[in-house]
Structures are given as C-alpha cells and as structure tokens.
C-alpha cells in the first residue's frame, strides 16, 4: 500500500506523482482553471472580430494573419478550440476531476479513492491530452477548425483534426479511468452508517455523472478511431460516394456516411451536457442547504430526478439532428424523450427553489453564486424547449439562439456553481476563508456581464443569424437589424474578463492572509467538515467517521444548535 503519513515523501511523490486524492484534485483544479483562462482568452479574441469585423486584432494581431486581420479559417480554429478546451479541458476536469476527486471521498468518510494509482494515471492522461490539444496550435497546419462537433466530411479532410483526435483519445481515457474510480469509491468505501439515502446530494450527482461518462464516452472513442482511420488510412467511414472537393472527385472508396459520425458523436455529447450540469447542481445543493440553515426540500425527489435524468440522457441525442432528414416518426420520438427529460431538471430546480422558503439565508459569496445559478439555469433550461421541439428547431438550429441557450446553462449555470464550490470549500482545502469583499467584487459584475453577453444572442438567433460566422453575420441582409448587439456583447465579454481579476487575486491573497479557520467554519453537517482543514495527508480523518444521520439536519426543532453533524450519535 501507499506510504503512511509518518515518513517523508520525495518531492515527486508528494506533488507530481501523488496518489492522494486531495493532491490529484488540486492538480485537476489548477490545470482546469488555467485551461478555462485559455479558452476564455480565445473567446475574447473572437469577440473582437465579431464586434469590429473590418479591423485588425490589437496588440497580438500579427499572429492571426496579414496586417493583424483575423483570417476566417483562424476564426474557425479559435471557435473549435474554444469549445473543445472549455468542455473537455476546463469544465469537466474542474467539476468532476477536481471537485469529484477532492470531495467525494471526504463526503463519504473514506481515506482516499478506491484506486489511488489509477487516479494519478487519470490526471496525467488528462494533462497529456491537454498538452497534445494545445500543441495543435503550433503545428504546421494549425489547430482543428471543424467545430468541437467535428462533423465530416469537413473534419475528415480539413487540417488540424488529427492532433485533435489523438488528444481526445487521451482525454477520454482519463475520463473513463476517473469515472470507474468514482463509482467504485461511492459503492465500496462509504463509511459505516452512510446508507445511500444519507449521502449528500453532491455525491449522488457525481455518481450519476460518472455512470454517464463510463457508458457514453466509448462510442465517441470508437467514432474518433474511425475518423482517424479516414484521415490516416484512407478509409471512407464518413465519406459518401461521389464527394467533390475543390472541383475534384475525392479519390476514396466512398460508401460511408456523415450521419454515422453525428449519431456516434451525439450519443456521447448529449449525456456530456448532463455531465456538465450535474456536479454544479450538486454543489449548489450543498451550499443552499448550508446557507439556508434548513434541510434541502425534497431530498428523495432530488435523488430520483438525478438518476432518472441520467437514464433519459441516453435516449434524447438526435434532437441535435432534427435537420438531418430524419422522418417524422423518429423526430417525434426524440422530441418526446426530450420533453420528458425536462421534467427531472424542473424537479431539481424546483426543489432547490422551494428550499429557500422560510429559510434564514446567509448571503455570503458562495450563496450568492448558488442563488444566481437558479434563475440562470432556469433561463438556460427554458430556452432549450424551443430547440427540443422539432418544429421550432427548424428555425433555431445552428443560430445564435443555440449558443445563447447552452452558454446560459454552462456559463452562469455550471461555472457559477463551480465558483460557489470554490468559495465554499476553499477553507477546507487551505484552512483559510476567502475575502468576502473580493468575492462580492467578483460576483456582481460577473452576473451582470454574463447576461450582457448571452441575452442578446437569443435576439440575434431569432432574427436568423447563423452560428460560426467569422464576421458575425455582416454579409447577411436578415442580420443587419441585430448586428449592433455584437459590440455590446463583446464589451460585456471583456468586462467579464476584468471581473475575474478580484477572484484571481482572492485565491492567492487568501492563501496567506485569509481568515484562519478550524474544521467547520460554515457550521455544516456533512462529513468533510469533521476532518481537519486541510484534511490529513492520505488518511483524511483522525479516525474513520461513523454516520448516524441524514445529510442536512439543520434547524431541527428542540435542539440547541441549528445544525447537527452526520456523525453525531442519536441519543436513547
């Protein structure tokens, strides 16, 4: 087994190849935050182009083309890589790799994950995948430029895609190893007394998320192998017969189908969006329970809804493909399943809203982010409905409406949930609280500017402005009435970037100057707050916790304190 805490580990074993889930969680977290910054930066460049399509990119323009003018193909690369980096290198590693790894073992009272070495391997696989992805920017042909969705035939023949596919293989491997670890850990390593229905909702959310990753990612891995074969071995998995490129018939066997890619891709990519949202819902639930000083309303409904959501997520994928020529029977099927899947989302959101009723709310920074998650995710979810209904999707597919919809769910949705988690759990990780002043300076402008960027997208989408246009719709008559929003959105984006500075300062400043805390600064009930801050290396707890209660015993009538930790034995 691993080195026990009483002898010194080498620098390498302690910080580089660590098998301690907390160190690995931090490795994931730091790497993911760096990638989020990179992905954000790509977007800021894109937004300059969209705001001022006929001017050159300031300062760094010479990288992007002659006279600093952003070439269309470079814009496409920025777009494809922005999506890829944000989803696969940023949000999921932060939500699952960082938060999942760090807090699942703590919340279930375990000393570590079930497979510590596998855990380290999954982080390094992610790291290598990330390096490979980023290296594509410096390759001769440049980075992928066929959208993160990589549709053939374009992705089969366009430059930059091969490195993208190889990077994805490493990232998918990382994800599979990590999710197998999380599922096994939750099933096998729960502390004595921690029954399934005593688990914090955050753990349930991670459990369902990991099942989605284990079962949905492999078909994309298969598809990636097929696309690699098309690019490298001359196969025609996705290339139809008679394809003409640049005036010439493509010299391949043909007989393949671009639809095959779309089916295999969306089979993963739809569950993937639930991977993006569930951990954040889990975090928001924890923060709300703690800062309302009340149990979560409808815990059983929340659990049922999360499990049902996970199951349904496998049978809705073709709502991304309504415009591919599917017949009415299949369109109807996927429309129905898509409508059904909105129900568990609404149950979760409602339970969290109702949890606020009669609450004694503490408006600290984590709670501000958690509270704002609710209406922001609400907007994201509601705007998904016209997309899930085939008839309206005919007009909205591939427009800015879609971009507005999914960004609302991921950006002021998931990312705000993740910020809530960082502010909430920073004291556990470091032993110090983050500054509330800097926290509020981060929160309020972020909320305002998120809406400034993404709300106008619905207006543009409804007017018919297509997505992935390098000039933001300049050449289309139908876009002329709504183009002025581009500058507004871009300025909001740059100001959103500025609004992150207080956060970055806060993270570093609080490490040294934050208010020192003991085990349970938030007066919380769940198991992680019974460990020291930070928890002990490799073992976490001074002794294995014994669980006697459900997860959220706040403000139980007749008790002296307004919270009762899960470990407190029942009297009599």
């Amino acid at each position: 087994m691993d080195a026990h805490s009483h002898h010194e580990e080498s620098f390498i074993r302690k910080y580089i190849w660590s098998t301690d889930h907390k160190t690995i969680g931090l490795q994931y977290g730091i790497t993911a935050l760096v990638f989020l910054f990179v992905g954000f930066s790509l977007m800021m460049i894109m937004r300059w182009q969209l705001a001022y399509p006929e001017s050159s990119i300031p300062l760094i323009g010479s990288i992007f083309g002659e006279d600093g003018m952003l070439l269309p193909e470079i814009y496409n690369s920025l777009g494809a890589m922005h999506g890829t980096i944000m989803i696969f290198l940023g949000v999921v590693p932060l939500a699952v790799g960082a938060f999942g790894n760090y807090f699942v073992p703590l919340q279930i009272g375990a000393p570590d994950m079930a497979f510590p070495k596998l855990n380290a391997a999954s982080y390094w696989s992610y790291f290598v995948g990330g390096v490979i992805m980023m290296s594509s920017f410096f390759s001769a042909d440049g980075a992928a430029r066929s959208g993160w969705t990589s549709y053939p035939p374009l992705a089969d023949i366009e430059v930059g895609q091969t490195i993208w596919l190889i990077g994805m293989v490493f990232l998918i491997t990382s994800s599979l190893l990590g999710s197998i670890n999380i599922i096994t850990t939750i099933i096998q390593l729960r502390a004595p007394g921690l029954t399934w229905m005593r688990m914090p909702f955050f753990v349930w959310a991670q459990f369902v998320t990991s099942f989605l990753l284990v079962l949905a990612f492999p078909p994309l891995e298969a598809a990636a192998v097929l696309q690699l074969m098309d690019r490298v071995a001359g196969t025609s998995f996705f290339l139809p017969s008679g394809l003409v490129v640049s005036g010439e018939l493509l010299d391949v066997s043909g007989g393949g189908s671009p639809l095959l890619w779309q089916h295999l891709f969306w089979f993963l990519a739809h569950p993937e969006v639930y991977v993006l949202i569930l951990p954040a819902m889990g975090i928001v639930a924890e923060v709300i329970a703690n800062n309302t000083r009340k149990p979560l309303w409808g815990y059983n409904s929340l659990v049922f809804a999360a499990v049902f959501l996970g199951f349904m997520s496998f049978i809705v994928w073709a709502h991304h493909m309504f415009l591919t020529g599917m017949g009415t029977a299949m369109s109807a099927f996927f429309q129905i399943t898509t409508m059904i899947i909105s129900i568990p989302s609404v149950i979760i959101l409602s339970a969290l809203f109702i949890s606020l009723w009669g609450a004694s709310i503490r408006f600290n920074t984590p709670m501000l982010f958690a509270l704002s998650f609710l209406p922001m995710f609400g907007i994201g979810g509601l705007t998904g409905l016209p997309l899930g209904i085939a008839a309206s999707d005919i007009f909205l597919h591939d427009t800015y409406y879609v971009i507005g919809h999914f960004h609302y769910v991921v950006a002021p949705g998931t990312i705000f949930g993740l910020f809530a988690g960082i502010y909430y759990w920073y004291p556990k990780i470091t032993g110090r609280k983050m500054s509330e002043l800097l926290g509020k300076l981060h929160f309020w402008p972020s909320l305002i500017f998120m809406n400034g960027i993404f709300m106008p997208m619905f207006i543009q989408g409804l007017a018919g402005v297509s997505r992935r246009l390098w000039d933001g719709g300049l050449e289309y008559a139908h876009a002329s009435g709504v183009l002025h929003w581009n500058e507004f959105m871009s300025i909001s984006a740059w100001l959103l970037g500025l609004a992150q500075l207080p956060f970055i300062v806060n993270v570093f400043y609080s490490l040294k100057r934050g208010e020192k805390v003991d085990k349970n600064p938030w007066d919380a009930t769940t198991l992680e707050w019974t460990a020291p801050s930070p928890p002990l290396p490799h073992v976490n707890f001074e002794k294995i916790p014994e669980v006697h209660r459900v997860a959220y015993e706040y403000s139980v009538p007749g008790r002296k304190r307004d919270f009762t930790p899960q470990t407190e034995p029942k009297k009599g």
Partner: protein, 198 residues
C-alpha cells in the same frame, strides 16, 4: 489507514474493489465495441444489396475458425490458471498461464498471416467500407489481445512474487485479469460470425 475492501469483500455488496472496477471497465468496453458494431450495421445498410456478403468472401474462414478455437482454449487455460491458485497449486498456475500466453501468441500470428495475405492481394482498409470496418474491428480487438498479453506476462513472471507475500491479493488479480481476458474472447465470439460468416 489502508483502503478498505482491497482484498476482503465488503459485506453488503459482496465485492472487493477491483472486481467492481473491472466490471465497470468491461461495461465501457461493451459500449466501445458497441460503437463499432453500430458502425458495421450502419455501413452494411448503406452499402449496395449483398455487397458486404460478396466482399466478405475473400476472408479465410478455416483460419478464422482455428483462431476462434485457439481463443476459446486460451479462455479455458486462463480460468484454469486461476483455479490452480485457488487450489494452492502454483506450478500448475504457471503452466496454465503460459499456455494462455501461447494461445494468444498463436492467435496474433494467424491474424498477422491473414492481414499480410490481404495486403498482398491489395486489399486494404481503404478498399471499401467492409474492409474498413473489418480491419478496424479486428485491429482494435488485436490491440486488446496485445494489451492483455502484456498484463498476463507480467503476472506470469515478473509480478508472480506477490504469491509469496500476499497470495489472496495475487489470486484476486488473476481473477480480474481473467475477467478481462474472457471479455476479449467474448468479443471475438461475436466478431467471427458477423465478419466472416454473414
């Protein structure tokens, strides 16, 4: 504090950690090969009527049948090697594990002969969609065999010292490796008729 249930089973689930882990891994592999099988069906539907059957006639059924028998045998020797450990017969374990590796090697040699025969007749993955999926499916399966062989070889020789210090944990590892190996056999049980006989 060691990680609990690494060797002994957790009472309510009846499992030790690695067994659950490997079954989850195999579930993901079912979905991986499932993606490829799905591609096979898709491409077959998309090809001209009877084309896949015609193109498949070039394949060598007797060799593949032999390969099927070899892989099934390796599955038996694999489970026998685990049973030998349960019966405390370390020498028999080494014999059966060695036989498993031999069968695996034979399988790969025959696959190599098949592939080179195809290439010498100018049949490549790029030739048509049948051969595209044929080479990809059997190729990925072959990579899984190679991966399995590396692990089995480790347990056959360099890693078998664990038998002296922690026999129970070692036996568990062989059981886990066996589960993976049987899965690889299982995939071939479907691959063989689908690619060679239909």
């Amino acid at each position: 504090m060691d990680i609990p249930y690494t060797v002994e089973e957790r009472p309510d689930t009846g499992l030790f950690n690695a067994k659950l882990g490997v079954w989850l891994f195999l579930a993901s592999e079912v979905m991986l090969f499932g993606g490829l099988f799905s591609a096979y069906v898709f491409l077959r539907f998309g090809a001209p009527e009877g084309a896949f059957h015609e193109w498949g006639k070039e394949l060598n059924i007797p060799l593949a049948t032999l390969n099927t028998m070899i892989l099934i045998s390796s599955s038996v020797t694999m489970v026998m090697s685990w049973a030998s450990l349960k019966l405390n017969q370390f020498k028999k374990y080494k014999l059966y594990m060695g036989l498993t590796l031999l069968c695996a090697l034979a399988f790969l040699v025959i696959k190599y002969l098949e592939y080179t025969a195809k290439f010498s007749h100018h049949i490549y993955p790029s030739t048509n969609t049948f051969y595209a999926i044929y080479f990809t499916l059997t190729g990925l399966h072959g990579l899984h065999i190679i991966g399995g062989m590396i692990v089995l070889f480790y347990f056959w020789i360099p890693g078998n010292k664990m038998w002296d210090s922690k026999p129970e944990q070692f036996t568990n590892r062989i059981e886990i490796a066996g589960l993976y190996w049987h899965f690889v056999d299982l995939v071939w049980i479907f691959l063989f008729p689908i690619l060679y006989l239909l």
